[in-house]
Symmetry: C2
């Protein structure tokens, strides 16, 4: 039996410590190929590049002699598309994205390039997982996150995932001795309350920096935010079909189907 | 009673014909404010701008003397965030995004800047609708799409929308005499099969253009794709909570909560 084929990507760029930690953690699980952006692409969400062509550059030896690595000029989603169409010779058995520097729990999943790469993998029919450590520091300790990533990756290789779903795994910033383990749950309801900071440039023109505060809108104990705030890593199954089935019946009742134009 | 306040945005840029058609169609429904990107931002998905500051520039008179208009250097989602935090004096009663040049039905919803602006509105608690015309041509005829947009906008102002949901409205490229009306349904299962075109630049380096084919993966008659292919406009309720509830029970059964680290 041939070894599983793993595609590794991220949104912090191919030189980020988090992707290196992920590669180290899973490199004996199969044959790895790394395809990642050539620079940080946080907050890129599910962006793709339409108006410009893309570059792909082999990065020989970056993760050791056995692991082919490529940087691209595209977004995280572009990386997955390029990997699947151009770089890899067969469909990967597993896509792992991360380890992200910073939380992608709750509403963050929708802004996250890390998670969008995993979403794109799932759209392609590849079992896909995104990993994020709730610590933005470049010098963050990825030790615990790497252990979690390895065990979840093994599990997904063994079990597969429900069609139409992927996993969003977030690891708290805690000492391993305080770590309480994994908790499966749903995404907490939350939003960012923006507060753009206005500044004036040397030419007397205004510009704005996006800043904001995370607003948790509930306290359900079955959520990712509850898990992370209580010393657990959160595991949330994510879907990419966005139909709001709970709203269908109400809409039907509007009678729009009978409007005449 | 004060007039409703409407926020108008898009992803094709403030100078696109589609946003002008939308403004014309709904301008007597309330007080409008237009906030849109200063250049085309198709395929930006839910991207936000973190590493750069943003510019905002008033565009006086662009849509007539009564309608304040602003262009920003940001993504469609940035536009909504800037509008809500910095530009508008109160929360809008309705957000309309579009009219997009090209379909955002089915899986396209996830790549679409037009729809991501509407999603961001919904996250902010604003009833939000994205409109797209299945015609990429700059000189497309927005007549029918504008009529649909106006009636749906009126309806949403009257009824509101289910919490946690927004609407994705796509209008087929048909003559109004062939138009069969509106159909409420779900997002069809589909994906893009990428086919990157490799070229060589004048410096003998390779680059890649993203091209692809839309692959419809089902033929359900309750879907947006079926509606559009049969002369209807599609109305799909969309949600931004990405939890795959159908996958929760299966994941719980893996026993990850009992792993020891």
């Amino acid at each position: 039996m041939s070894k599983p084929l793993l595609l590794i990507c991220n949104d912090d760029g191919i030189h980020a410590p988090g992707i290196r930690a992920l590669v180290e953690a899973v490199k004996d699980l199969g044959d790895l190929v790394v395809v990642a952006p050539d620079r940080p692409q946080s907050g890129m969400g599910h962006a793709i590049t339409i108006g410009f062509p893309l570059r792909v550059q082999a990065q020989e030896g970056l993760f050791g002699p056995e692991i082919p690595a490529y940087q691209t000029s595209g977004t995280p989603v572009d990386c997955v598309k390029l990997a699947v169409d151009r770089i890899m010779h067969r469909k990967p058995d597993l896509l792992l994205s991360g380890i992200n520097h910073g939380s992608n729990a709750s509403i963050n999943v929708i802004y996250s390039g890390t998670m969008s790469a995993a979403v794109e993998g799932a759209i392609e029919g590849i079992p896909s997982v995104g990993f994020s450590l709730c610590d933005y520091a470049l010098e963050a300790d990825f030790g615990l996150a790497a252990q979690v990533a390895r065990r979840v990756a093994e599990q997904v290789l063994n079990h597969g995932l429900m069609p139409g779903s992927l996993l969003n795994v977030n690891i708290p910033k805690v000492d391993i001795r305080q770590f309480k383990g994994l908790k499966v749950g749903r995404q907490a309801a939350a939003k960012w309350k923006e507060n753009f900071e206005e500044r004036t440039d040397p030419h007397n023109k205004k510009y704005y920096w996006m800043t904001g505060e995370f607003e948790l809108m509930e306290h359900g104990e079955d959520t990712d935010e509850w898990a992370l705030r209580n010393g657990y890593a959160s595991v949330v199954p994510v879907q990419f079909d966005l139909t709001a089935h709970h709203a269908l019946a109400g809409l039907q009742a509007w009678g729009m189907q009978d409007w005449v134009f």
